[in-house]
């Protein structure tokens, strides 16, 4: 299949890029890594610029985020590294941008994934949010462009949204800086464990759920404990075996506790 082989030739390169970033586990202290994900054109770069100020470096011509940009900021004596991921509609890895974003969230394991979304078209943005919630539960949602939404007479009930999704939701208007200190407070409360999340899980139709349960049961023993087995199962169900092949490369049955992204890169090349 054309698309699969194409994804693979992309993969080598992008995975290595991911691997060159600091690997974050649960055990470290000090510098927390926050991934910034979101659809294109939701003001993600504005949030990034506002939070990091001039403390950023891009290995690339700035403007459109082609590859990831990194920056740092401090809040309440805590240092954060912010990684700006490419803007994508989805995480199904059908394009290299999606691949970069997905691999970072899944394999580089940021401490928190902050999803920026557009208050003026929330439904489309929630599609990505729900997909990210399938991979990780350390997610904060930043409903951006509230100023634009107000002008267009669109009202978003952020409290209700937080309740629906089971994750903290912060309303922002990044261009004027509104809500960003709240966002930093929430990030802080999440890393010190003051906020616990109970992410909403997407429920599929009956037949699919049965298959998912069946396969997930078989898969779980092979999977490292940090990876979401339901998510891996869903990918397998879709015919995306990259993740499974990678796990297979890591000696099945002898599941390593921590797998370095470099190994992933080697296996997937």
């Amino acid at each position: 299949m054309l698309c699969l082989s194409h994804m693979k030739d992309q993969k080598g390169e992008y995975m290595i890029e991911t691997a060159s970033l600091p690997i974050q586990g649960q055990e470290h202290t000090g510098n927390f890594v926050v991934a910034l994900a979101g659809n294109p054109n939701v003001g993600k770069s504005t949030v990034f610029n506002r939070l990091t100020g001039l403390n950023q470096h891009t290995g690339n011509w700035p403007g459109k985020t082609v590859i990831k940009a990194e920056g740092t900021f401090s809040h309440r004596n805590q240092r954060y590294t912010l990684v700006d991921l490419p803007g994508t509609y989805s995480l199904h890895a059908s394009s290299s941008d999606e691949q970069v974003a997905r691999d970072f969230i899944c394999f580089s394991r940021p401490d928190i994934t902050a999803v920026v979304c557009d208050a003026t078209c929330l439904e489309r943005n929630l599609n990505l949010v729900l997909q990210i919630l399938e991979i990780t539960d350390q997610v904060v949602l930043c409903v951006n462009l509230l100023d634009e939404a107000e002008r267009k007479k669109i009202h978003v009930d952020t409290a209700m949204l937080a309740h629906q999704l089971g994750i903290p939701v912060v309303g922002t208007a990044a261009r004027s800086g509104r809500g960003l200190s709240k966002l930093k407070d929430v990030l802080h409360d999440m890393v010190i464990g003051k906020i616990a999340t109970t992410p909403r899980q997407v429920v599929y139709d009956q037949e699919l759920e049965t298959s998912i349960n069946e396969i997930e049961k078989r898969l779980t023993p092979y999977l490292p404990n940090w990876i979401n087995s339901r998510w891996v199962t869903l990918r397998a169900l879709e015919g995306d075996f990259n993740i499974l092949e990678y796990i297979a490369c890591n000696r099945p049955g002898n599941c390593p506790q921590q797998i370095l992204p470099e190994e992933v890169a080697l296996c997937l090349q």
Partner: protein
């Protein structure tokens, strides 16, 4: 507007600018099918035809609150049914209930 013969499947490309339609089937396969789905072009979604580019191709569509341009060859692969009469509804959630 011309009457559409039933045997002739209606595609997104047949909808005139200003009209809207509901997605029925997507003929595209492979990775591109996934991309269309990810944009919110799933069976049942409402699509409004916004405008054509100066040369007539590509065409811009309003899909779930975002204006997205597709080349006409790709739009031809998206089969729809006309839904002009729901245009006045402003919220997608409310439109859906009428059909379901």
């Amino acid at each position: 507007m011309t009457k559409i013969v039933i045997s002739d499947p209606l595609s997104l490309l047949n909808i005139p600018v200003g009209g809207s339609a509901r997605v029925k089937t997507i003929l595209t396969i492979g990775a591109n099918r996934r991309r269309l789905l990810d944009l919110g072009l799933i069976p049942g979604s409402q699509v409004e035809v916004i405008r054509r580019s100066p040369a007539g191709n590509p065409t811009a569509y309003l899909i779930k609150g975002t204006v997205i341009a597709l080349r006409n060859e790709d739009a031809r692969q998206i089969l729809v049914e006309e839904a002009d009469y729901v245009m006045s509804f402003t919220h997608e959630g409310s439109e859906r209930r009428i059909y379901d």
